[in-house]
C-alpha cells in the first residue's frame, strides 16, 4: 500500500464535500476515482496532496503520516499532482517549464546571485523528457502557444521530471480530441509501469482501459470500489450516474 487514507472528511461551513472516505492505493497500480459532478473527487485530490487541510481523517503515504504536512513537502516526498485545468507556466518556454521541475534536484534555488546558466546542466534531461512526450519540436515555444493536448503532455513531462513515486492526475484527458486522448492514455500506461497513478477521469473508456481499481464517489462518500466490470454493473453506481444526468 503506497497511499492510505482513513476517515477523510472535509467540511465547508456545515457542508461535507468529502465525508469519511477510505482509500487504499496499491503500489504500482493505476487507480481511478470516478463519480458524477460534485462527488468530491477534486476535493479528495486537494486533501491527499494537502492543498486543503482535512477536517478529520489521516493520510499515510509510503508508511509516513503526511496529514500535517504542507503541500510542497508532500510533493518533495514523491507524490505529485496535476490539475484539472492545464497547469503549465504559460510565459516560460516549454524547456523552461520542465527545467523548473528538474531544478528541484538542486534543493532550494535561493541563490539569486548565480546566473541562470547554472540550469543548463538540466537541458539534456529536459530534452529527453520532452522527447518522451512528443514535444521535441516545441522546446523554445512559450507554453501558452501550445495546443491544448500538447499542454497536457508538457504537464506530464514536468511532473515526470520530479521522478515521483506516485502521480495524481486530475482529469488528464478532459477537453481533448480522440487522437490526443489515445496518446495521453498510452502515455499514462507507459509511465505507470514504474509508478503508481491515482487519477480522476470522466472518460469511461479510458478508465476501463487503464485502471486496475476504481473507486466511485457520490456526494462525498465512497459508493463502490472494484474493477471496471464490478463497478459498472453495480446498481447503486448506475443510479448515481443516471440520477444526476450523466451516462
Amino acid at each position: 500500500m503506497i497511499l492510505h487514507a482513513t476517515g477523510l472528511s472535509k467540511e465547508f461551513r456545515g457542508f461535507y464535500a468529502v465525508q469519511d472516505v477510505q482509500l487504499e492505493v496499491r503500489r504500482g497500480s493505476i487507480h481511478a476515482l470516478i463519480g458524477p459532478n460534485g462527488a468530491g473527487k477534486t476535493t479528495c485530490f486537494n486533501l491527499l496532496t494537502k492543498f486543503l487541510a482535512p477536517t478529520h481523517g489521516a493520510i499515510v503515504f509510503n508508511g509516513k503520516d503526511i496529514t500535517a504536512l504542507k503541500p510542497a513537502e508532500v510533493a518533495r516526498l514523491g507524490m505529485v499532482r496535476s490539475f484539472q485545468i492545464s497547469a503549465v507556466f504559460p510565459h516560460l518556454s516549454v524547456l523552461e517549464n520542465v527545467r523548473i521541475a528538474l531544478q528541484r534536484k538542486r534543493g532550494n534555488s535561493f541563490d539569486f546571485w548565480r546566473s541562470a546558466k547554472a540550469l543548463n546542466v538540466f537541458n539534456d534531461r529536459a530534452m529527453a523528457l520532452l522527447d518522451d512526450v512528443g514535444l521535441t519540436g516545441f522546446v523554445n515555444e512559450p507554453a501558452i502557444e501550445l495546443p491544448y493536448g500538447r499542454k497536457r503532455a508538457l504537464e506530464i513531462a514536468t511532473t515526470l521530471a520530479l521522478d515521483p513515486q506516485m502521480l495524481l492526475l486530475d482529469e488528464p484527458t478532459a477537453g481533448m480530441g480522440q487522437e490526443d486522448i489515445a496518446r495521453t492514455a498510452a502515455l499514462i500506461k507507459r509511465v505507470a509501469a514504474e509508478r503508481t497513478v491515482l487519477m480522476v477521469e470522466h472518460n469511461l473508456s479510458v478508465v476501463s482501459d487503464l485502471s486496475d481499481v476504481i473507486t466511485v464517489l457520490a456526494r462525498g462518500r465512497v459508493l463502490a470500489e472494484g474493477d471496471y466490470a464490478a463497478v459498472s454493473t453495480n446498481p447503486q453506481v448506475i443510479e448515481a450516474y443516471m440520477g444526476s444526468g450523466h451516462g
Binding site: T49, F51, K70, P71, A72, E73, A75, R76, V80, R81, S82, F83, A87, V88, F89, P90, H91, L92, S93, L95, E96, R99, I100, A101, Q103, R104, R106, N108, S109, F110, D111, F112, W113, R114, S115, A116, K117, A118, L119, N120, N123, D124, M127, V139, N140, T158, T159, L162
Partner: protein, 321 residues
C-alpha cells in the same frame, strides 16, 4: 550526441545582444547626463529609477503588488540622515545603515504580508506603511513635519568629496548601476526562474515542491533592501529626509513609474522614473495641477499602452527589453 546541439540551440548561453546594446545606451546616457542637465536633477532621476527597479522586482517578476514601498524608501532615508547628521557616520556607512534598516523592515512587513494574495496583500502593505508613517510623524528623531534637514554629504570612503556635485552624481550612478545589475542577475538566476514560475502559476509551483512563501519573502526582502538603498542615496543627494518619502503618495508614485515604463521589463522602470521625475520638474510651475496631469497620464497609459513605454517598444522590436 544530442546534448551538444541542444545546449547551444536552447536557452541563450549568454546575455542576448540587444540587452547589452540597451544597457550600453543607458550607461552612455548616464555618463553624459550631468553635462547636459543639473547633476542633482540627474541624480534624483537615478535614485527613483533604482527605487522603481526594486519595486519592479516584486510586481514584475513575482506578481506581488506592494502598496507600501514608501516605507522602505523613506525609513531608510531617515536612518541615513540620522546616521550622517547625529552619529556623524561617513556617507557610505550612513547609506549602509539605511539600507540595512530597510532590509529588517522588509523582513518584518514581508512575513506579515505574504500570507495573503492580491488585493489583500496590497492592503496589508499599505496598512503597515501607514503605521510607519504615523510612527515617523511622532518619533522625535525624524523631526516631524520638518524632517531631517541639512544632512551632511561628507567624504565617501574618505576620498570622494560629495559636496562636488559631479562627484556626487557619479557615485550615485555607481550605486544605481550596482543595484540595477543585482536586480538583473536576480531575475535571471535559478531563484528568478522559480519566482517567475510562482508568478505564472503558484499552485503548480507548490505542487512541484516549491514552498512559494519562502521565495516570495526573499524577493520581498530584496526589493525592500534595494528600495532602502535608493532612499538612503536620495537622502544624501538632497540632504533631506522628510515625511514625503514615507507618505503613501510615494508608494503610488513608484507604481506609476513602473507601469508607465513597463511592468516586468528590464529597462521600463528606469524610463518610467525618468519620464515622471522630468514631468514633475518641468511642469512644476503648474503647481497642484501636476498631480492632475499625472493622473491623466496614468489613465491614458492604462487604457492605450498597457505594456508601458519600454514594453511597447519591446513589442515593436519583437525583443524583450
Amino acid at each position: 550526441m544530442r546534448s551538444n546541439g541542444a545546449s547551444t540551440e536552447l536557452a541563450p548561453a549568454r546575455t542576448p545582444r540587444h540587452l547589452l546594446i540597451a544597457f550600453g545606451i543607458m550607461v552612455v546616457i548616464g555618463v553624459v547626463a550631468p553635462f547636459l542637465m543639473y547633476p542633482l536633477f540627474a541624480a534624483k532621476v537615478l535614485c527613483f529609477a533604482l527605487f522603481a527597479c526594486a519595486f519592479n522586482l516584486l510586481i514584475g517578476y513575482t506578481g506581488l503588488l506592494s502598496f507600501g514601498h514608501a516605507a522602505f524608501f523613506g525609513f531608510a532615508a531617515y536612518v541615513t540622515g540620522h546616521g550622517a547628521k547625529v552619529w556623524g557616520l561617513p556617507p557610505e556607512l550612513a547609506i549602509l545603515a539605511g539600507t540595512a534598516a530597510a532590509a529588517v523592515l522588509g523582513l518584518a512587513f514581508g512575513m506579515l504580508a505574504i500570507r495573503r494574495q492580491g488585493i489583500y496583500f496590497a492592503m496589508i502593505t499599505l496598512a503597515l506603511a501607514q503605521m510607519l508613517f504615523f510612527f515617523c510623524v511622532q518619533a522625535p528623531f525624524t523631526g516631524g513635519e520638518d524632517g531631517i534637514q541639512g544632512i551632511p554629504r561628507g567624504m565617501m570612503f574618505g576620498i570622494l568629496n560629495l559636496e562636488n556635485s559631479l562627484t556626487l552624481y557619479f557615485v550615485v550612478l555607481g550605486i544605481f548601476l550596482a543595484g540595477f545589475l543585482l536586480i538583473y542577475r536576480t531575475v535571471h538566476s535559478p531563484f528568478g526562474q522559480v519566482l517567475k514560475a510562482i508568478r505564472e502559476n503558484e499552485a503548480r509551483a507548490t505542487s512541484l515542491g516549491y514552498n512559494a512563501d519562502q521565495y516570495k519573502l526573499i524577493a520581498f526582502v530584496l526589493s525592500a533592501t534595494l528600495s532602502g538603498l535608493a532612499g538612503s542615496t536620495k537622502a544624501i543627494v538632497f540632504q533631506l529626509a522628510s515625511l514625503t518619502d514615507v507618505h503613501w503618495g510615494m508608494s503610488g508614485e513608484v507604481v506609476l513609474m513602473t507601469l508607465l515604463g513597463g511592468l516586468g521589463t528590464t529597462f521600463g522602470p528606469v524610463a518610467g522614473a525618468a519620464i515622471l521625475i522630468s514631468m514633475q520638474n518641468y511642469l512644476a510651475q503648474l503647481g497642484g495641477w501636476v498631480i492632475v496631469v499625472q493622473g491623466v497620464i496614468f489613465v491614458v497609459c492604462v487604457l492605450t499602452f498597457r505594456r508601458g513605454v519600454i514594453g511597447e517598444l519591446a513589442r515593436l522590436l519583437k525583443k524583450p527589453l
